[in-house]
Symmetry: C2
Subunit: 395 residues, 2 copies
Amino acid sequence: MAIADKMHTFMSHSSWIRKMFEDGLRLKKEFGAENVFDFSLGNPNLPPPEEFYAALKAVVEEESEGVHGYMPNAGFEEVRRSVASFVSRDQGIEMPWDHIVMSCGAAGGLNAVLKALLDQGDEVIIPTPCFAEYRFYVDNFGGEARFVPVRSDFSLDVAAIEAAVNGRTKAVLINSPNNPTGKVYDKQCIEHLSKMLDQKGEELGCDIYLLSDEPYRDIVYDGRHVPSIPAAYRNSIIVASYSKSLSIPGERIGFVAVNPKAADAENLLNAITLATRILGFVNAPALMQRVVARLQGVKSALDDYRRKRDLLCDGLVEIGYDVEKPEGAFYLFLKSPMENDLEFVKALQKKNILTVPGSGFDGPGYVRIAYCVDDETIVSAMPGFREVLEEIKGG
Amino acid sequence: MAIADKMHTFMSHSSWIRKMFEDGLRLKKEFGAENVFDFSLGNPNLPPPEEFYAALKAVVEEESEGVHGYMPNAGFEEVRRSVASFVSRDQGIEMPWDHIVMSCGAAGGLNAVLKALLDQGDEVIIPTPCFAEYRFYVDNFGGEARFVPVRSDFSLDVAAIEAAVNGRTKAVLINSPNNPTGKVYDKQCIEHLSKMLDQKGEELGCDIYLLSDEPYRDIVYDGRHVPSIPAAYRNSIIVASYSKSLSIPGERIGFVAVNPKAADAENLLNAITLATRILGFVNAPALMQRVVARLQGVKSALDDYRRKRDLLCDGLVEIGYDVEKPEGAFYLFLKSPMENDLEFVKALQKKNILTVPGSGFDGPGYVRIAYCVDDETIVSAMPGFREVLEEIKGG
């Protein structure tokens, strides 16, 4: 074997995802893409907002010396100032500009943070179901992911997290609004978690960081607000992205913000910056840094996602599915009406409906439906969802 | 300690580099930036070519659906086709489009390749002096870097590399034109290396990959040509970047090309693509992919670097320095006239000349002078170079 054994294992484990993807392609070829209802991808379907195009054009017009060259690994100072100023308002704390490190999206930011924190065998607690790649990110740096299931309403089980904390716990990684459940952790829940982490940290004589992965922060419904993690917990790090709010995931732009009150904050920032360099990111893409600096607080027409959510959820409830209505992001984590979620996914596939089994997110017994699709796709898939449920109940 | 012990060690080891950088800032503050001769950074000083600006504007004008969204992790198919077509012509082989993986610069590409190849304890042979970050890149994935010094004319010592090959050797990583020596490995040298690797691979019953890091491929002088690695060696992988040839290092765009004849090529490509995803790059920045697709074979006014090289080398030779004239890239690796290169760097610093000690590249006894600077900087620094040499000879 020429490639690493480890990568070979990863690749064979993910072969069923590949198979699903290939099945999807086959279906689209056979029936035409318009007759296949693809809910499998978290690719925002809204276009970027007008302001994005205007900022992009303006940045390209205003070329000046060195703007495509190297800058400090953490990013252009003016960009970091603009981000810090927005984060301060948005999160209700004073975020100094030099506590911002621009990153290649949230995925790049998370990897830099984990590289900065983890020695071999250090543990990261992750509530499940969760984004499938977290497992790899932690493993990249020799860390161990400790998965702790959420409650049945998808809220955090703080007691279970507490039970998982030990002397090797370096961090807890949360994601709210959540992929795949759409849950938004409320203020009370965050305060409860923070208090527990403070106590455990003191008890164990160590600093437990709370990493808050917030790519969906702007995508919430029904007047909800995502509570500020840095306002609630000292040892906190925000990892953010413009991928979803501006619908530009291919451009790989986001940032890391370290709470100024965090233990060892200066070392931590230096380590995250060094990690950005030595992992090969070097810096976040220069041009997009300058674009997003002008778009602080700007969002795509996110209310469209609410309409899609309602269309999907109301439709499924009417058919008879058991739906926990998502509070944010653009995913519904639907309880599978049969025990084996993979079988349910296959049954849906027979109706040309593509979804992802919950097992892929450490959440067996569910399927993830990404509703960042055309309204028509949602409406047209409903008969298929109905037939599958009837078949299951009938069988 | 909140951050990883490993990162703490890295940070304290690199503290002298930081100190040098801070000394430089202090000098610039004290004497004015125009009176400090900064040869410490490999940041291209030529502007991007006109074609780059035209392509950037055209790409921004021609917005269409999904261009800022996710694409396959390896990059847009049309971009990979354009790159493959150029690589085929430039390297004299048939490079299939699906053997190209677009990357976040050469640094991102190298990390993805090493992640794909290395299990804990696997070895990578690296001729020294070398780019300082290679050590970190190999360590990122639990690999061991085996450093093998080049000859005194900076050419490869193939016998020494052969002696370092063993059953754990996964790859040899070369960089030509070289940072920091400016050496271009000639065809004979590459053929010698290839033959040896073929023999050793057969003898040991394993595949030894030759990784060719080629960010300076286009920057060569005096009619030299960088020989094609894939034409010479089957198990080869090119890692390339547009950072230096187009003067856009902040934009993080490059590619990996896997020789279609390489052992296990398909698995390798899948592993590099998966590594791109799970390291958090996800994909190379979308907009710049589309820009460089239109600029295959386009370069900055690279001949300006030749003029700068001659200005520097001729000046130093005249003063009495021992100069091995660089054949490519924009670095001179100057033999230190005193044994301790750090002392020489300090002596130059007293004349407001900033350079980097060879020790930082595993090449003690030398200093690196990056001549990607204004001609005036080179000319104005000459008296300082002269005074230092006179002081050393006088002392």
